[in-house]
């Protein structure tokens, strides 16, 4: 039983009144001041035993009447009914707790647990409650205990994805469309949270989102690797990006190499004002091979202050060059001369150029040999087509350079296109051709997309070959795809002839360069673009190479091993190893840089995405009002107070009769 106006129960204090009256009757009626008690002696109080017993019975009746009246004014109602009645309309409540890496900041996780607990305890009676955790993925938890056993992960915050998934499931499980449901989001609501999934999502009508933001005063600066840029890649140094959040006040940080045991080497002072980012060159790496990370010091949140960067491995990469017999002796005019020098300055692993004749040792070891240069033309012996195809299928990159006099036979075999033709192009009237169309979206040319690097007009092609592929019916003209198998023209000369063509095959690709890079054919080898291009080609295969690949926490990467796949462990940032294909692959997992953007996100960002937000204060008020209305309605329906008042009236009648009879009896005897 519940009470609508429990304050009226204070009226129960009136129960004491009859007792007090009785006590007053039993004690002397008052105090009398007297000049002196010297002539008085005490007399024992008088009690009428029989009368006392009668009065106690009467007292009980009076007390009962008063209690009934007080209870009636408190307006009781039966709550069990309330629960049953509230059943169909009971709301659904999903508590969504952020477990992303940014929740590792000091104090946040405890605050989040408290907020989640409060949200669960504050659930309206009869509501169906579910508990979820999310970072990159949404997980459903059994109870609060499971949440308490959890800890923040290292993964990024896919807030949009989690909300979409949760809202969809809430909407799907509701019997009627637009049934009310509330998602209580407990999160630090950082600026780096990914809301992209919400952009194309139609937020369900009945689902409302209540953001319970947990905050910390801890300041955060972060350390992340810089994606390679053409201007920086060959420096042999490590460049890092230091970001300081806008809410910080400090701006001086220290950057130093460290090993698992602790810092190693000198610290570099980094000045980075709040809200800004600095790209700095890390101090020189100590010779100690155990040194495998850079550590930023000077902020309050260490979770994103470590950048794992291991010294390039000792095992060199191999670039296999299949072509005419050793032409290094031909000096700077020969293609092999440039090929030999182009990888010398490459940062990272050393590259070893291997030359092979017609029957090279070509195991499908893509990781060890990321690039095969196949020189067509001249006195090139027949290439090992079978081995090359297997190599490409496994993910390798074959760069076929069509030099003067190249025959289309090998390309036909590699392209599986017997109608492919390759012939010498007619010389232009100006004497040279220039690059006219470049596909800057391709990874090979993407580094040149910046206008600072996109000037290819200095590279003149004196002569080139014409690669002709049978046009698929109805296909658009140049520079569209050349063939049905996804052949892509990456660069085209100003006479419309494709210069660089990519043909994917299996997990790898075949690139065809329709001109040589040696000075006899073009200025390509002597241009500044040559080395980045070739290194880019190397990297096309090396994307599969775990050692150099930039893997983010939580990324799902499967490694082919035998008949099945080995899933990489990417749960925590750091250096990891996995054994597959008979050898140990080392890889490094990085924290998602977005997770370091810990500045608070404005909640209107969600409102702009049409998410129905709940104001917590107004919500609490509304909940309380709804509850009060419910109780009022129940009480109105049950009207228990009427029965109580009726009982009190009956009690009063009894009391009157009884007391009257007592009085008459007293008069009769008195």
């Amino acid at each position: 039983m519940s009470l609508l106006a429990p304050l009226y129960l204070a009226g129960l204090a009136a129960l004491a009144l009859p007792v007090v009256f009785h006590l007053i009757r039993r004690t002397p009626t008052g105090r009398t001041a007297f000049s002196s008690l010297m002539f008085l002696r005490p007399s024992p109080p008088r009690f009428a035993r029989r009368r006392r017993l009668d009065q106690i019975a009467l007292l009980a009746l009076r007390a009962l009447v008063l209690a009934l009246i007080a209870l009636a004014f408190a307006r009781p109602f039966l709550r069990s009914d309330a629960r049953v009645d509230a059943g169909p309309d009971a709301r659904r409540l999903a508590v969504l707790v952020d477990t992303s890496a940014s929740m590792r900041r000091p104090g946040l996780w405890d605050a989040a647990l408290r907020a989640a607990r409060a949200a669960l305890e504050g659930a309206p009676p009869g509501a169906r409650v579910s508990l979820h955790a999310f970072d990159r993925e949404l997980r459903t938890l059994a109870d609060l205990g499971e949440l308490e056993r959890l800890a923040p992960t290292w993964a990024a915050t896919d807030l949009g994805g989690a909300l979409v998934e949760l809202a969809e499931s809430l909407d799907a499980e509701s019997a009627e469309p637009g049934a009310p449901a509330t998602v209580v989001l407990v999160s630090d609501f950082q600026a780096g949270a990914d809301l992209a999934a919400l952009e194309s999502f139609d937020w369900p009508r009945g689902v409302r989102l209540e953001v319970r933001r947990v905050a910390t005063a801890a300041e955060n600066a972060s350390l992340h690797p810089v994606p390679p840029e053409p201007g920086r890649s060959a420096q042999g140094a490590v460049w890092v990006r230091v970001s300081n959040e806008g809410t910080s006040t400090g701006e001086r940080f220290g950057l130093a190499w460290a090993s698992g045991a602790g810092p190693a080497g000198a610290e570099l002072a980094v000045l980075c004002p709040p809200g800004e980012t600095r790209v700095v060159r890390a101090p020189e790496r100590p010779a100690d091979p155990a040194v495998d990370r850079l550590v930023l010091s000077g902020d309050d949140c260490p979770f994103d202050d470590t950048l794992f960067d291991r010294a390039p491995g000792a095992t060199p990469l191999r670039v296999l060059s299949i072509g005419p017999a050793d032409d290094r002796d031909e000096g700077p005019e020969s293609p092999g001369f440039f090929l030999e020098h182009v990888f010398a300055e490459m940062s990272g692993a050393p590259v070893e150029l291997a030359r092979a004749g017609a029957a090279p040792d070509l195991a499908p070891d893509v990781a060890g040999t990321p690039l095969v240069v196949l020189e067509l033309g001249g006195a090139t012996p027949d290439p090992p087509i079978g081995a090359l195809r297997a190599y490409v299928e496994a993910g390798g990159t074959v760069l076929a350079v069509a030099r003067a006099g190249a025959a289309p036979g090998a390309l036909r075999a590699l392209f599986d296109e017997p109608r492919l033709d390759l012939r010498e192009a007619a010389r232009a009237a100006s004497g040279f051709a220039l690059l006219a169309e470049i596909d800057f979206e391709h990874p090979l040319f993407a580094p040149f997309a910046d206008p600072r690097y996109s000037d290819f007009t200095k590279i003149r092609f004196w002569r080139h070959r014409l690669l002709e592929l049978p046009e698929p019916p109805g296909s658009p003209g140049p520079p569209g795809p050349l063939g049905p198998a996804g052949t892509r023209v990456l660069a085209r000369l100003d006479d419309g002839a494709p210069l660089l063509v990519e043909r994917p095959r299996g997990r790898g690709r075949v690139l065809v360069l329709a001109a040589g890079w040696e000075p006899a054919d073009s200025d390509l080898a002597r241009s500044s673009k040559f080395a980045p291009l070739l290194i880019g080609m190397l990297a096309l295969s090396r994307q599969l190479d775990l050692a150099t690949r930039r893997i983010l926490v939580g990324e799902r990467i499967a490694l082919a091993a035998g008949g099945g796949e080995v899933l990489l462990d990417t749960a925590t940032p750091g250096h990891h190893e996995v054994e597959a294909l008979g050898r140990v692959h080392a890889y490094t997992v990085h924290l998602d840089p977005r997770e370091s953007r810990t500045d608070p996100l404005d909640e209107t960002a969600l409102a702009r995405l049409d998410v129905a937000l709940v104001d917590p204060a107004r919500n609490a008020l509304r909940t309380e009002r709804t509850r009060q209305e419910q109780r009022l309605e129940l009480e109105e329906r049950q009207k228990l107070w009427r029965w109580l008042i009726l009982a009190a009236v009956v009690g009063l009648l009894l009391e009157t009769l009884w007391a009257g009879r007592l009085a008459r009896g007293a008069e009769a005897t008195g």
Binding site: P28, T29, G30, R31, T32, A33, F34, M38, P42, S43
Partner: protein
């Protein structure tokens, strides 16, 4: 002797003007004057004019009278010889002992006893002062509160009245102590008027009264009592609270009334016996009696007990 026929005077007050009306007069001095003048005006109309020492009058000189008391001015004006008799008779030193203990604050249906007591004392003081007697005052509660030596000089009465208007206090009635004190303070003979309810054990009073009498003091005791203290008219059980000690006692008058009255009478008898033994004059004074009668009681007491004193002082009568 003229004074032996002393009778109650007819006052100017009608009967319905009771003591309360007089007591309602706020200034004590005025109150005392009203009573005294009322008393005197009634006195002057009485056929028993002229009595004893307190009233001034001229007496024709007869040979043998001390020439020091001859009124030379009158002789010069009228060529008749008169003796200013009263001047010789006013060297009575009267000390008023007024009980201001808390028990005096009791008044069941009337005003508190203390108001009667101080009005009584003030009336006596004024009356005596008008007779040129020296009046002193000692107020006491548990201990002696104020002592004003007996004087007859301008402003002295006012001092007495100020001392009388003190609030009641104390947790007991230090009757014996105050009597001993006055005995030690007053060396010359005189009159000691004790105004008190004497609601205190009689032990020790015997010695104190004896000491006073031994010093030649005439003792008059005005025992001011509320009628309720005498008759104990209560009929409802109540917790009775001692005004002095604060002690409280549950009392059912039905059971206790008789024993109270018996105890009170016994105490009264004991006090009366004690007074008789030491030649003190005990005047039981109920607060429902008109105040003006106090003067008659006093004078009666003086006449009853103080004839020797009168003789001693009224030299001119010899």
């Amino acid at each position: 002797m003229r004074g032996s026929h002393l009778a109650r005077p007819r006052t100017r007050w009608p009967d319905w003007v009771d003591s309360d009306a007089v007591l309602a007069i706020e200034p004590l001095e005025l109150r005392a004057r009203v009573i005294v003048e009322g008393f005197l005006s009634g006195l002057h109309r009485s056929p028993y004019h002229g009595f004893s020492v307190e009233f001034s009058e001229y007496r024709p000189y007869s040979p043998g009278d001390d020439l020091r008391y001859l009124d030379w001015k009158l002789l010069a004006r009228t060529d008749r010889r008169y003796i200013k008799r009263f001047e010789d008779e006013t060297n009575v030193r009267c000390h008023l002992l007024v009980d201001l203990s808390r028990s005096m604050a009791f008044g069941a249906e009337r005003r508190p006893k203390v108001e009667y007591a101080i009005t009584l004392a003030a009336t006596l003081a004024r009356f005596l002062s008008m007779q040129r007697d020296a009046v002193g005052l000692l107020t006491f509660a548990e201990d002696v509160l104020d002592f004003v030596p007996a004087r007859h000089r301008p402003g002295h009465l006012l001092r007495l009245f100020v001392a009388l208007e003190r609030a009641t206090s104390g947790s007991a009635t230090g009757l014996v102590a105050s009597l001993e004190r006055i005995a030690s303070l007053v060396r010359r003979r005189g009159v000691v008027v004790l105004v008190s309810d004497v609601l205190a054990p009689l032990a020790g009073l015997d010695v104190a009264l004896g000491a006073l009498r031994a010093r030649g003091q005439d003792v008059v005791v005005f025992r001011v009592l509320d009628p309720a203290e005498i008759d104990f008219p209560f009929d409802r059980a109540a917790t009775f609270e001692d005004l002095e000690s604060g002690r409280s006692l549950y009392v059912d008058p039905v059971h206790v009334g008789r024993s109270y009255r018996e105890a009170f009478r016994a105490h009264e008898r004991g006090l009366a016996a004690l007074a008789a033994e030491h030649g003190a004059d005990l005047v039981p004074w109920r607060t429902d009696r008109p105040l003006v009668e106090c003067l008659f009681e006093y004078l009666q007491a003086r006449l009853r007990r103080g004839r020797s004193v009168l003789r001693r002082t009224a030299r001119g009568r010899r």
